[in-house]
């Protein structure tokens, strides 16, 4: 039993059956605490969709994956009082959750975040934090989604830690077309194109 040993509670897999509790999306008699649409009516900033698919080490799609994103608003501020700078002036929360579909697909409708400083005050390029949960994953993985075409990518202090030949796994491609910008990035849990994950 729990006892008094020091240390955090260990992680366990989210398992295959989380959907009715965490991402019911109208399919079960339970409501969603969060959705994949982060945009509120008073949110300022460039509205974007970020989409892609999740693959395992065999290149098979992962249909039972949960993705969560956390991001700053368009001014680069977080909807959290721990961010001591000026508070965001909208109801934008900056957190979203999406279960992958039968083809391993996901998308988030959100806004492109602003510039967030690193611990030395150096600007980080616009990015989303992404947490990946699935059956077969005993501990979730953290990665980041950057945006193709951002000049700030070249000097981003976190991208600089990543071997150059692997940086593309973190940078969402901008797709053409009318309307809101759509960025796409696939997540590869393993394999030749394995996504860069961070030990944070």
């Amino acid at each position: 039993m729990q006892g008094t040993s020091k240390g955090i509670t260990p992680s366990q897999t989210v398992g295959p059956y989380f959907k009715y509790g965490l991402t019911p999306n109208g399919e079960y008699a339970w409501n969603d605490a969060f959705t994949n649409n982060l945009v509120t009516s008073d949110t300022s900033g460039e509205r974007i969709r970020v989409e892609g698919k999740v693959f395992d080490g065999d290149g098979a799609v992962v249909p039972d994956c949960m993705l969560e994103i956390w991001q700053a608003d368009a001014q680069g501020r977080f909807s959290d009082p721990q961010d001591k700078r000026a508070l965001p002036n909208s109801s934008f929360r900056g957190f979203g959750r999406c279960g992958t579909d039968a083809e391993g697909g996901y998308f988030f409708d959100t806004i492109k975040p602003g510039i967030v400083p690193d611990p030395d005050g150096k600007p980080q390029a616009p990015h989303l934090l992404l947490a990946v949960f699935a059956r077969g994953m005993l501990l979730h993985l953290y990665t980041r989604i950057y945006f193709d075409g951002e000049a700030a990518n070249a000097s981003d202090p976190v991208l600089a830690l990543v071997p150059p030949d692997r940086r593309s796994t973190l940078i969402a491609a901008r797709n053409g077309g009318a309307g809101n910008a759509v960025y796409s990035l696939d997540i590869h849990l393993q394999g030749d194109n394995e996504t860069v994950f961070f030990e944070v």
Binding site: Q2, G7, G21, G57, S79, V116, L129, A131, E199, V200
Partner: protein, 233 residues
């Protein structure tokens, strides 16, 4: 107070590649993770409004016309940081199988009955001291396809948000004395015995409600420790 999230705390977690749990083999990265300093992005996390949790979401036995079948239980405890401080306003979500060991999820085909009075999902928010509680029924054990005659010990899935995005935790709460512990590769993916014990709830007679429900205590310890180093002179 600013919390720090030392990487060393992560050693309590299972290895992502734990081959006895077969599904980890193709779903764990093979390249080293990139170590980085925490920035404001990692050190902040979502804050929830009260609209996220409805009043009755913490009682899984009153979500339908009648009460679910099974052994009614109270599950309660504190969400704590690594220094033992309560984490206030932490969102705690849970989901579980019914008393027969069957999930309502469409993919679960275990030939045990569904219960029309049980969905198996709940959520709550810890109070100012980090305390939370749920009322539910004790879930059953169930078979799975990992290996011959594989059965999961009875468990309740928990999803918890702490002070930052890097204190996020998804885990499973087990029940004391389960005979299936020794045979379960998910439970045993946590190789340290003391860490494993932190996933097992304690039977709580003191808070068991006479004539009504047994009680189990499950404290959840999230990453986060005082950032100010102690003087060591």
């Amino acid at each position: 107070m600013t919390l720090a999230y030392p990487i060393s705390s992560l050693k309590a977690h299972p290895a992502r590649l734990s081959p006895d749990y077969r599904s980890t083999i193709k779903r764990s990265p093979q390249k080293p993770l990139v170590i980085m300093r925490h920035t404001l992005s990692e050190l902040t996390g979502p804050v929830y409004g009260h609209e996220t949790v409805r009043e009755h979401d913490r009682d899984l036995t009153i979500q339908h016309k009648s009460e679910p079948l099974g052994e009614r239980i109270i599950v309660h405890g504190h969400v704590l940081d690594e220094d033992g401080r309560g984490v206030p306003n932490a969102l705690v979500e849970l989901w579980q199988a019914n008393a027969c060991g069957r999930y309502i999820h469409a993919v679960d085909q275990h030939p045990a009955p569904l219960d029309p009075n049980f969905t198996g999902a709940g959520r709550t928010q810890s109070d100012a001291t980090g305390y939370y509680n749920f009322i539910t029924i004790k879930p059953g054990a169930y078979p799975w396809g990992n290996h011959h005659n594989a059965w999961r010990p009875a468990h309740i899935h928990f999803s918890v948000f702490g002070h930052s995005f890097v204190s996020r935790l998804v885990t499973q709460m087990y029940f004391p004395g389960d005979p299936l512990f020794a045979f379960d590769p998910i439970f045993n993916s946590v190789t340290d015995e003391k860490a494993r014990a932190r996933m097992i709830s304690s039977f709580d007679l003191e808070n068991t409600r006479p004539e009504w429900a047994l009680c189990y205590r499950f404290n959840i310890v999230l990453r986060g420790t005082n950032a100010t180093p102690m003087e060591t002179k």
